[in-house]
Every structure is written in structure tokens, then in C-alpha cells.
């Protein structure tokens, strides 16, 4: 090679999956370039808010009018506040479009580490129940892999990132390589017993989360155990939870083979028609808008679901007029997310002399129990229920004033147990992303137009979710139960996946079973866009595992000089 700006591997995006690609290729000895459109966020030193107290922020826990104007979409996310706002994009600079009657939310973190700084840390294996859903009910296309194909890669990722949890021996909720779980508190233990005595198909167990609960010295390369501050979204100076910044990016850097270029936006992929391969990318510097090019033998797109699909769309050419690597025509379609905001809570009496220590950054989970053995309900697919118990803290909404009231405010309040459900969404062709050629962002790139919503099946599921949340809270022996059904906005769960799906047939899918483009062999896509279905489980572990698996596959091809 020897050409300027030339590398073995070029990875687009330094988030959850791109950083895994960087680690895998650099550790295999390949010169790897990672292009990141945002700034670099260095572990620890760039976590500028992580030791701040609320009174150290001008507006404390309120978002000012200015912030709400500039980050009007991002600020609707549950973990957006003055301590985390620096890890979210400015919506004015990053507009999207969606029809008025179908609002969409796209939460974005444009920096190295991406949204691995902001994720909920839920870490689940998809099972064959999940992989077979599409083929069983005829929606979407069949996954080209099964559990046995990905299981070793789940092992590999879990052991590296550190996941706490319990093994439960359930087919549809496969066990993994877990560190000890976070402890359950007294009320959670009590409601677990009641729930499991009542139902034969449900368990309540500590959630599986990417937190280091108990570790041996040196086991995680300088990361230390979770200190239960529950401030994950400021960046964790202990490395107590997995982020690319604390784990995979430093690993890639240690090899000396990583080149990370920040503030660099992909313009298009450069396609060599004669040899049917991608040879590099044209980019612009996000600050100076200066153009340049980079070249590589293999390209991995890990920019996040919508961003990756947008890059393929705007890399269209004479051979691929509808988007690069899109001979199938499905690029942009089958966008999915989890639907949420169905939940409830109740009060538990009888444990007033008990408390806990620490702000546990994880709760409990009741894995799916609907449509598991058979199709039994009037909706397809399933949902999981998450929750937990804690004592109410400062409670201003009670009667009282004066000295005694002030004293009362400082005492732990009642125990409350909450449950909230997350449901699977069927892949629909009409849930899609397109380019609006007429509207450009400040760098001159077409704005993405997203048309997607949840439909009849999800609405039926939500009805059952509500009923079951109420029923389970009753079974648990809780008092003063309140359930609510809130909004269902696509993107609100920050699990947008699909739009460049894997599949067996090149005519109906973009990627093969190794996340390799059916059309262009040295092009891989391993972020959430590759998923043919979403299951009801948070997707991060699955696309990390698919990334490592694709890297292994691509590296073997590179060894044979196929690329």
C-alpha cells in the first residue's frame, strides 16, 4: 500500500461497536483507522462533571430555556441533565425530519465512546426464541444465524466488558459469564417470593448489567469495581461500568496500531466499480470543513443505525443508484425500537426498620413470559418487565410545615416497588428512513427523514403489559397500586435498530450472516442497523458480539489476501 492516509482497516464511528472493531483489528496487528464525527472524550480526564454536586451547577437539576431550545429533543431523554448534557448533540445543528403525526426521537452522542457513555447497561443474550421469531410469524426476514453461532462471541464480550447477573437456566433468557449480581434488597426478596410462588412462568432476578461488582486485581485493565454512585451518565472515573472510553478504546490504543481521528464526518464511501470494492472514504473536518480522503482494505460501518444507513444512502452511484450496497432495495426499511412507558408502582408495608446502602445503578428483571412456549396471546412476540424497590427520599408532596415537618422530611419514606415493561416491535417495511435531498444540515449533508411508528400489534401488547403490571403488583402484595400508560414514540427507548438488515437472501437483505455486504465483499456493517428483528432485549451486547465475530471473519479473509 504505502499510499498517504492508507490503513488496513477503516472503522466509521468510535462508539459501542466501532470501538470493538478497533480493539479486535489492532490486537490482531492491523493498522486501524477510526473516524469519529465528534470530539474525543478521554477516559476520566474528560468526565468534567463526574465529581460535581448539584449546587455546583448554575441551574442545578433544571434545564434552562436555552438548553431546552438547543437540545429540544435530546433533553427529553431520562438521563439528560446538566451533568450529562455535554454528551448529547445540539439538536439545532443535527436536525431530523418526521411527519407531524408520527414523532420520532433520535438521541445521539457524537463523541468517541458515543452512547456507551449514556447507555442503560442492560446486557442480554438473544436466544433462539428471539432469532426464530421472524421466520415463525412471517414478519421480516429470517436471521441468518442462530444462538450457537453467536454464543461463543457472547462469552467473549461478557468476559471482557464485565457483566453482573445470575444464571437462571431458561432457554429464552440464555445464561452467560457473569460476575456476582448486585444484591437484592429486603423488599425485592419479599416480592420475588410472592411472585414466584404465584406464577410458574415468571421469575424476578437481578438485572444483567455491564457493571463490575466483584473483580480480581488487574482483571479489567485499570477499571475498578462499581461504587454505586448511580452517576454513570457523567462518565465513570472508576470505570465501574463498561464504556468504550474506559475499556475497548484504551485496549486498542495500547497496541500502538490505532489511529483515532476526531471531528471528521464521512461524506461518501469511495467505490471502485471495476473491482467491486470500497477503497476508502471522503470526509470533511467538522470544524474547518476541509475535505480529505482515507483509504483501507476493509471498511466497517459502526456509525449507529440511522447514521450508517444515511452514509450508504448518500454514497449512491451509477451502480447503486438507491444507496451503496443496496441492490436489495431494503436499505432504510424495517426500522425498529422498543416500545415503553407502561408501568406502575405500589407501596410495601412492613419493612420500615430496613434500609440499604448505596445507590444501586441497576434493578430487577422479570424475563419474558408471554408467547414463549406457544403463541398464546392476541399479539405476536413478547415483552420483559423491569423494576425494583427503594424507599422514597425527600418527599415534598406531603402535608405539613414547620420544625417537625422539616425533621420528617429527612427520614426515609415508604418502600415503593415499581415495574415497567419494554416490548418487542415487529419489523415493518413502512417504518423507514430516507434522505431529504432538498434539506441540508450545516455541513451540506441531506437531512434524514424518518417515518416510523408502533402499530396494532404493539398496541395490543401494551394493553396486556398494563394488565400484567397491575396484576403482578397485586400478587406482590403491594398497596395503593398505580399503573400508567404513557407515550409510545419511536426512538424513545434509544434502541433504534434495523434499516440495513442481515439475511440469507441477497435479494431481501443488505448483509450476510457475517455482517458482510452481499453486494460489496470488503464492506461490513455491524452496528444496530444490521438487526432483522429487535427482540424485547436491549441490543448492545448482540451488536458488540456480532462486531467481534465479523472482525474475526474479516481478518481471516485478510490473512488470505482476499481483501
Amino acid at each position: 500500500m504505502g499510499r498517504k492516509n492508507s490503513y488496513d482497516v477503516l472503522v466509521v464511528g468510535a462508539g459501542m461497536t466501532g470501538s470493538w472493531a478497533a480493539k479486535e483489528f489492532t490486537e490482531k496487528g492491523y493498522e486501524t483507522l477510526v473516524l469519529e464525527r465528534g470530539r474525543e472524550v478521554k477516559h476520566i480526564e474528560d468526565y468534567t462533571t463526574t465529581n460535581k454536586a448539584p449546587w455546583e451547577y448554575k441551574h442545578r437539576n433544571y434545564d434552562s430555556k436555552k438548553v431546552k431550545e438547543e437540545q429540544f429533543m435530546q433533553s427529553t431523554k431520562y438521563n439528560f441533565d446538566a451533568s450529562s448534557e455535554q454528551f448529547f448533540v445540539n439538536d439545532k445543528d443535527h436536525p431530523i425530519e418526521s411527519p407531524k403525526d408520527k414523532p420520532v426521537r433520535w438521541f445521539r452522542g457524537y463523541q468517541s465512546g458515543g452512547r456507551s457513555l449514556l447507555w442503560g447497561r442492560g446486557t442480554y443474550r438473544m436466544s433462539d426464541h428471539d432469532f426464530k421469531r421472524n421466520i415463525q410469524d412471517g414478519n421480516g426476514t429470517d436471521w441468518p444465524i442462530r444462538y450457537r453461532d453467536i454464543a461463543p462471541w457472547y462469552d467473549y464480550i461478557e468476559e471482557y466488558i464485565g457483566v453482573s447477573g445470575t444464571n437462571e437456566n431458561l432457554d429464552h433468557y440464555p445464561d452467560g459469564k457473569y460476575l456476582p449480581p448486585f444484591e437484592m434488597n429486603v423488599v425485592e426478596k419479599a416480592v420475588k417470593t410472592k411472585l414466584e410462588d404465584h406464577y410458574t412462568d415468571r421469575i424476578l432476578v437481578p438485572n444483567r448489567v455491564a457493571h463490575l461488582t466483584k473483580i480480581k486485581p488487574g482483571q479489567f485493565f485499570g477499571r475498578s469495581a462499581c461504587q454505586t454512585r448511580d452517576m454513570c451518565h457523567t462518565g465513570c472515573p472508576f470505570g465501574g461500568y463498561f464504556s468504550s472510553n474506559s475499556s475497548t478504546l484504551p485496549a486498542a490504543k495500547r497496541t500502538g496500531k490505532l489511529t483515532l481521528v476526531s471531528n471528521t464526518i464521512i461524506d461518501t464511501l469511495i467505490y471502485d466499480e471495476k473491482n467491486n470494492k470500497v477503497i476508502g472514504v471522503t470526509v470533511i473536518d467538522s470544524i474547518t470543513k476541509e475535505k480529505s480522503e482515507y483509504y483501507a482494505r476493509v471498511i466497517f460501518l459502526c456509525a449507529s443505525t440511522l447514521a450508517t444507513t444515511g452514509i450508504l444512502m448518500r454514497s449512491n452511484n451509477a451502480t447503486f443508484p438507491n444507496g451503496l450496497a443496496n441492490s436489495s432495495g431494503v436499505l432504510g426499511h424495517y426500522l425498529m425500537d422498543h416500545h415503553k412507558n407502561v408501568g406502575g408502582s405500589g407501596i410495601m408495608e412492613g419493612f420500615e426498620n430496613k434500609y440499604y446502602k448505596g445507590f444501586r445503578p441497576a434493578g430487577m428483571v422479570i424475563p419474558a413470559f408471554r408467547n414463549i412456549k406457544n403463541q398464546e396471546k392476541d399479539f405476536l412476540r413478547s415483552y420483559g418487565v423491569w423494576g425494583g424497590a427503594s424507599r422514597v427520599g425527600i418527599n415534598p408532596d406531603q402535608i405539613g410545615i414547620g420544625k417537625e415537618f422539616k425533621e420528617k422530611l429527612t427520614k426515609p419514606g415508604v418502600w415503593k416497588m415499581g415495574l415497567y415493561a419494554y416490548g418487542e416491535c415487529i419489523p415493518y417495511y413502512e417504518n423507514k428512513v430516507e434522505m431529504d435531498e432538498l434539506k441540508k444540515d450545516k455541513w451540506g449533508f441531506p437531512i434524514l427523514k424518518i417515518t416510523a411508528d408502533f402499530k396494532e400489534n404493539e398496541m395490543k401488547m401494551r394493553k396486556d403489559m398494563k394488565e400484567q403490571v397491575y396484576e403482578m403488583l397485586e400478587v406482590m402484595g403491594l398497596k395503593d397500586i398505580k399503573v400508567h400508560v404513557g407515550s409510545h414514540i419511536m426512538g424513545d427507548s434509544t434502541h433504534l435498530v434495523g434499516t440495513a438488515r442481515m439475511g440469507k437472501d441477497p435479494k431481501t437483505s443488505v448483509l450476510n450472516s457475517f455482517n458482510q455486504s452481499h453486494d460489496i465483499p470488503n464492506l461490513f456493517v455491524t452496528d444496530g442497523s444490521c438487526m432483522p428483528s429487535i427482540s424485547y432485549k436491549s441490543p448492545s451486547l448482540t451488536f458488540m458480539a456480532l462486531t467481534a465475530r465479523a472482525c474475526d471473519y474479516a481478518a481471516k479473509k485478510m490473512e488470505k489476501r482476499e481483501f
Partner: protein
């Protein structure tokens, strides 16, 4: 919901517009953006005095500071300037002024002119009337005011450290510990 007649007239305010997304928790060492005493931006002195008087009746000085000791009023002024939309701001100010009108019609005095024990007696009645009801999206002025007073108080350094068990780095989670009669809420740095 049935809204029965209250002791005071009610200025309804949209709950979501006023309340912080989470009821906080708090923690350590100040610098940078901390508010110091400074000129009021929105409130006039009369409004400010009334706010301090109500807030201090809710949270009086004990072994720990009162609401006005930790400048709850100054932060409310900042919220009115930088956080609340104009409509909410106007409703808040209207509610504040209505509060005093109601107080005068019931007691014959402006709230700030009542002696301490009468302030307590009057506000206790108002408090009970308002706080024993449940609300959906709209809440009365006093509900909002009380909520703000308390949540702001417990995001100040003194409010936290002198009233609660401040523990910003707990270490590993322990699911069961005994709670004694004198034990306080444990609080960290999370907002």
C-alpha cells in the same frame, strides 16, 4: 378530579412546566457556578420578602439553616429568569400575589406582617387544604411553591449536609441494613 373550594383561591400551574424532572439528591465542595447573593432579576423586594416568609414558615431555622438561609428565594428568582416559560412565570407571580390577597382577606394582614405563630397557623391551614388533595397535570400555586422550596433546599450544600446522611461514594451496594429511629435519608451526588 373534583376541586373543592380551597381556603385560598387557586392559580393553577402546569405541573410538568414547573417541577424538575427528578426529585433530587445531592453533594460536595462548591466552586464555579454557585449562586451568591446578588441583585434580583425578576422579583421585586416585596415579592422576595413574601417568598422568604412563606418558605421559612415551611422550613424554619432549627439546628440546620432555614430556607432563606440557603437562599431558596434567590434560586427561585433564577428559575423565573432562566427556566420557566413566560406563561408559567406569570402564573407563579400571580399565584404569589393572590396568596397575599387571600391571607389579608382571612387574617386581615399581609403574610409578612403576621407574627410568627400566626404565620404558622395560617399556612398550616392552607397547606392542609392544598396538600391533602391529589392532582393530575395542574397544581395550585401553593403546591408548586412548597415543592420548589423543599427541592431547592435539598439541592444546597448546607441543606444536604446539615440534614441528611451525605455519602457520595458508597462503595458496594448492601441490600439490607437496619434503620434506626435517628437515621436519615442517605444521599449522594446524583441529580
Amino acid at each position: 378530579m373534583e376541586r373543592r373550594e380551597a381556603v385560598i383561591k387557586i392559580s393553577w400551574i402546569l405541573k410538568s412546566a414547573l417541577l424538575a424532572p427528578t426529585i433530587l439528591t445531592v453533594l460536595q465542595s462548591c466552586q464555579e457556578q454557585v449562586l451568591n447573593t446578588r441583585d434580583l432579576m425578576v422579583l421585586n423586594d416585596e415579592q422576595d420578602d413574601l417568598i422568604k416568609a412563606i418558605a421559612d414558615t415551611i422550613l424554619p431555622r432549627t439546628e440546620s439553616p432555614s430556607a432563606s438561609d440557603v437562599k431558596v428565594d434567590i434560586f427561585m428568582d433564577l428559575l423565573l429568569q432562566d427556566v420557566f416559560e413566560d406563561e408559567v412565570k406569570q402564573k407563579f407571580l400571580q399565584g404569589l400575589s393572590q396568596f397575599d390577597v387571600d391571607c389579608q382577606s382571612v387574617t386581615g394582614h399581609r403574610f409578612v406582617d403576621l407574627i410568627e405563630s400566626d404565620k404558622y397557623t395560617y399556612l398550616e391551614k392552607v397547606d392542609k387544604e392544598i396538600m391533602e388533595q391529589e392532582y393530575d397535570d395542574l397544581v395550585p400555586f401553593y403546591y408548586t411553591f412548597k415543592h420548589l422550596t423543599i427541592t431547592i433546599y435539598f439541592t444546597t450544600e448546607q441543606g444536604v449536609k446539615q440534614n441528611l446522611n451525605y455519602n457520595p461514594i458508597p462503595g458496594s451496594y448492601i441490600g439490607e441494613v437496619d434503620l434506626g429511629p435517628d437515621d436519615k435519608i442517605i444521599i449522594g451526588n446524583k441529580m
